[in-house]
C-alpha cells in the first residue's frame, strides 16, 4: 500500500505537473473575479472567503477524472482490481495520493489568494483551516465520480457535473465556518465540526462507493 502511495505521488510529480496546473487554474479563477465585480477592496474582502472556496472546489475537481482512468488506460487497473488487499483500501490510498499531490498544494496556495482578495489574517487562516479539513471530502466524493465514469472516453466534464452537486454540503459548511470565524456573533465550532464530520463520513462512503463502481465497471 505504501508502494502504491509512493508510485502515485511519483507519477503526479513526473507526469506533466498536474499540481501546477491545478494551482494555476485556482489562481486564474480567483484572479478573474475582481475583473467581474470591480476592484472594490471592501467588497472583495467580504466575498473573498467564498471566492477562494469556490475556486478551490473547481480546481480540486480538475484532475479527478484521471484518478482511475490513467491506470485503466495502461491496464494497471485490472491488476489493482485483482489483488486481495480490500479494494476499498486501495481506493483510499489512491484518494490520499491524489489529495496530497493535487489538492494539498491548493490549500497551501490559498493564503496567497486570500491576500489578493484583501482578506484579514483571521479570515485567511480560517479559509486555510477549513480547506485543509474539508478538501479531503471533495476528493473522496470525487473518487466515486471518477470510478463511475472510468470507462467513458471523455469523462472529465461529466465527473465535474456528477460530483459538484454532491459537494454542496462541503461548500456550505466550509464557507459558513470561515465566516463564523470572521464575524463575531456566529460561533465557529459547530459548522467546523460538521465539516470535519462530513469529511470523515465520506472517507468511508467515498472509497466504498468507488470500489463498488470499479468492480462493476469491468468491460
Amino acid at each position: 500500500m505504501t508502494a502504491l502511495l509512493l508510485r502515485d505521488l511519483k507519477l503526479s510529480i513526473r507526469a506533466g505537473g498536474g499540481a501546477l496546473i491545478g494551482i494555476l487554474f485556482f489562481m486564474t479563477v480567483v484572479a478573474v473575479i475582481p475583473f467581474g465585480v470591480g476592484p472594490d477592496l471592501n467588497l472583495l474582502s467580504r466575498i473573498g472567503p467564498a471566492i477562494v472556496w469556490i475556486g478551490a472546489l473547481l480546481a480540486a475537481l480538475l484532475g479527478l477524472d484521471r484518478m482511475f482512468q490513467a491506470d485503466r488506460d495502461d491496464g494497471s487497473l485490472d491488476l489493482l482490481l485483482m489483488q486481495e488487499h480490500p479494494l476499498v483500501l486501495t481506493v483510499l490510498v489512491k484518494c490520499l495520493a491524489h489529495w496530497l499531490a493535487n489538492v494539498l498544494p491548493l490549500v497551501l496556495a490559498s493564503p496567497l489568494l486570500g491576500l489578493f482578495m484583501n482578506m484579514s489574517e483571521v479570515a485567511i487562516g480560517a479559509v486555510m483551516l477549513t480547506l485543509l479539513v474539508g478538501s479531503p471530502a471533495l476528493t473522496f466524493i470525487g473518487a466515486v465520480g471518477a470510478a463511475v465514469s472510468v470507462t467513458l472516453p471523455r469523462g472529465g466534464l461529466l465527473v465535474s457535473i456528477l460530483v459538484l452537486p454532491l459537494c454542496i454540503p462541503v461548500l456550505i459548511f466550509g464557507v459558513s465556518a470561515t465566516y463564523a470565524a470572521v464575524e463575531d456573533p456566529a460561533p465557529f465550532l459547530p459548522p467546523f465540526l460538521i465539516l470535519t464530520a462530513i469529511t470523515m463520513f465520506f472517507a468511508v462512503l467515498g472509497p466504498a462507493g468507488a470500489a463498488l463502481a470499479l468492480r462493476n465497471a469491468g468491460d
Binding site: 508510485r7 507519477l11 513526473r14 491496464g75 494497471s76 485490472d78 491488476l79 485483482m82
Partner: protein, 216 residues
C-alpha cells in the same frame, strides 16, 4: 492444485460471447485458447481473472494444502493486451512497485527486480523510463512483472504480440519453467508456443466446440 471452470458463459452487452465452457487444469498443465478474433478468448481470460462476471457457471480454485475458498483472481497473474506499466517511471521502479504491491502467494517466492529483468534478458536497461523502450522491450518487461511475484496461475492474453521469434522462444521457455515448477497457464494465442502436452480449447464464438487432447 486445480483450477476448475464449470459451464462458463459470458455476455458483452446483450451479446452472448461464449457459453458452456468447462475445463479442469491441474499443476503443471497449460491450456491454450485458440480461435479467430472475436471468439471470446480475451473475455474468457478476463472472466477467469475476475474482471468480468460470468453470466453463468463458476470457477474455483483448490490450492495445495487444502487451500480452498480463495477467490481465483488472487492466485492469478494476468497479462493483458496492455502492459500495466507507467511510461513515466523507470523500469526498475515499475517492477519494484508491482513486486511490493502484488506480494507472493504461499508456495513460492518472486524473483528480485534484477533477476526478473535478467530472465527476460534486459537487465541493462532497468534504469530507463519505461516509455523509452521499444514495443517489444515493453512487452518483455511486462512479462518480467509475472516473475517478481509468485502466482500459481498465469493468464496470458496474446503474450507474444509485438515480439520477434527470439523473444517468443524466450517466453515459451519461461512458460515451460513455470509449468515445470507446478504452475498453471491459460494462454490465448495465435502462435503455437510449442508447449508439450498442452490442452487446446478451440473457441468458436458462442458455439463452443470441443476440447482436444486428454483432460485430466
Amino acid at each position: 492444485m486445480r483450477l476448475i471452470a464449470e459451464n462458463l458463459s459470458a455476455h458483452r452487452g446483450e451479446d452472448l460471447i461464449f457459453s458452456n465452457i468447462s475445463f479442469n487444469l491441474t499443476a503443471g498443465e497449460a491450456l491454450l485458447l485458440t480461435g479467430r478474433n472475436g471468439s471470446g478468448k480475451s473475455t474468457l481470460l478476463k472472466v477467469v481473472a475476475g474482471l468480468i462476471r460470468p453470466a453463468s457457471g463458476a470457477i474455483s480454485w483448490q490450492g495445495g494444502r487444502g487451500e480452498t475458498g480463495v477467490p481465483v483472481r488472487e492466485v492469478c497473474h494476468y497479462l493483458g493486451h496492455r502492459n500495466a506499466m507507467k511510461p513515466e517511471l523507470s523500469v526498475a521502479e515499475n517492477l519494484a512497485f508491482w513486486r511490493a504491491f502484488l506480494g507472493d502467494r504461499p508456495g513460492g517466492a518472486g524473483l528480485s527486480v534484477g533477476e526478473a529483468a535478467a530472465a527476460v534478458e534486459l537487465e541493462a536497461i532497468l534504469h530507463l523510463p519505461f516509455g523509452y523502450l521499444s514495443a517489444g522491450q515493453q512487452r518483455r518487461m511486462a512479462f518480467a512483472k509475472l516473475l517478481v511475484a509468485h502466482r500459481p496461475v498465469w493468464l496470458l492474453d496474446e503474450p507474444t504480440a509485438a515480439l520477434d521469434s527470439a523473444a517468443e522462444g524466450l517466453f515459451a521457455s519461461l512458460i515451460r519453467d513455470h509449468l515445470g515448477r507446478g504452475g498453471l497457464v491459460l494462454a490465448a494465442t495465435h502462435q503455437p508456443l510449442d508447449l508439450v502436452a498442452a490442452h487446446r480449447l478451440q473457441m468458436q464464438g458462442f458455439q463452443y466446440a470441443q476440447m482436444e487432447g486428454e483432460i485430466a
